[in-house]
Symmetry: C2
Subunit: 285 residues, 2 copies
């Protein structure tokens, strides 16, 4: 973990890795609607040398989410300043930004004028990411189907299905899970969107209304242009795929080494796209 | 609001209406997985004269939920004692019990051994309940479809769809919303389960896999026996319904006065069932 920084001049506090509404804090009010109802959104953002190359895409999704949930949108400059307080080292770091509607209201009914809570947490860099990028992921097909829930595409706080999928992975010693809908269409992976490689071409399933609108995938969409086809893709079509990748904004592109125990070949175009990822999103200066 | 009690002997604290893990507190740790992922459950429990008649049904659902989420189940005696600290008056009161998985883990992956957080909050008695019981609810059909998400039936913390439905109600000056699935089958109401009255007989739609397994409905199921039929019920069949009720464990049975502006008659059997509710669940001693 890098980016711990110099805490000597910070106010005395129980934490040096969380900011709640701009204050070093380790707690949130018990009436927070994010806790009570999942009434909020989050972004998990990678920094390299203090820079997040995908920052504009994260901010765009967060603003879209706030607009659709009628949560007051946080000031982007303020968020950037607070991230800089958490990420002051030269290496790589992760900040999770959580925006909730705040407290108040009458059960599910939100208050007319809410004061959102802004929670920034420095997170540990995931273990084994470099190995997964090189050697691939052990993926299972989840037994949990994802449905096109409202609000679609957002990175909201209602993630209990993902917790259950993660538990399935642990029970089967897998790194990742593939989520389908009830009709057998591919939705997404547990920790990112899916990219399928077939005859050297890239296919993204969807955009599926049950999937998160991933920032990593959005980068690929903009970078690949016509080289990325998006269309519904069904489980049985995976038989014709050369290889399978998972993409998210922190890990970039990771190949799937095995799917339900079946070995998938690593595509020849993988390293080319991983190089593009590193160039665009991780190399500083 | 009753049940405020004598706070003179309580420890100095910022709150006298919340207990977090047995301590008077107004905050929860920022790393709580209930906040970060909706990884937890809740029960909203009515007390009359300090007694919750439906307590065993709430505790049964909570235990079932903890088992299915692999969250350590809180001690029922401890919960009862803590509720008694919050509800010490002779009138009516509500306590919301929230059980989260606690902190830790690696993103969606839960920790191997988590220490759950136990959050009890005294809540305001809903305004206008007596009027709604007598005069009925203005209900709209929600534009938001509910799908049979995992984990089915539980009162979990992933309630963003309900927040959106509540917002629809406010925008249309309605009290309640009827939720359908994508095929037009009736799922539930915003704040409870649905009961349909047809030719003097009661029908509960489902049990639908997208609906919460309501404690109020469970009371009716046990009380009505063969007089309650449960079967899938589609929106277009509502044309043949005499009247429509919403049932939950706090409000009991409330009739629907209007559905999307159409006036529904109040059923003759309503007062009989409301009397049964009062007798079983609200009359003390």
């Amino acid at each position: 973990m890098t980016g711990d920084g110099d805490t000597r001049n910070r106010p005395v506090s129980v934490t040096d890795d969380c900011l709640v509404n701009g204050q070093w804090a380790a707690h949130v009010p018990v009436g927070d609607r994010g806790l009570l109802y999942g009434d909020g959104l989050f972004e998990t953002i990678a920094f390299h040398g203090g820079v997040s190359h995908l920052w504009p895409l994260h901010m765009r999704r967060l603003a879209d989410g706030c607009r659709r949930l009628s949560i007051e949108r946080p000031d982007v400059k303020l968020l950037a300043d607070e991230c800089a307080q958490l990420v002051d080292g030269p290496g790589r770091a992760i900040v999770r930004i959580t925006i909730t509607r705040g407290s108040g209201g009458r059960a599910y009914f939100p208050p007319a004028r809410a004061a959102p809570n802004r929670i920034l947490m420095r997170r540990r860099w995931p273990d084994g990411l470099d190995r997964q990028r090189a050697c691939g992921l052990a993926m299972i097909t989840s037994s949990i189907h994802l449905y096109p829930r409202e609000p679609q595409g957002l990175k909201h706080l209602n993630r209990l299905e993902q917790v259950l999928m993660a538990r399935e992975c642990e029970q089967q010693s897998a790194d990742e899970a593939l989520a389908l809908d009830h009709s057998g269409a591919i939705v997404e992976a547990l920790t990112g969107n899916i990219v399928i490689v077939r005859s050297g071409r890239l296919i993204a399933p969807g955009p599926h209304p049950a999937a998160v609108a991933g920032v990593g995938l959005q980068w690929l969409r903009e970078r690949a242009g016509q080289a990325l086809q998006e269309r519904p893709f069904r489980q049985h079509e995976l038989q014709t795929a050369d290889s399978l990748w998972v993409i998210n904004s922190v890990a970039g592109l990771r190949p799937v080494a095995t799917l339900d125990g079946r070995v998938l070949p690593l595509s020849e175009v993988l390293s080319e796209w991983q190089q593009a990822w590193l160039h665009d999103n991780e190399i500083v200066g």
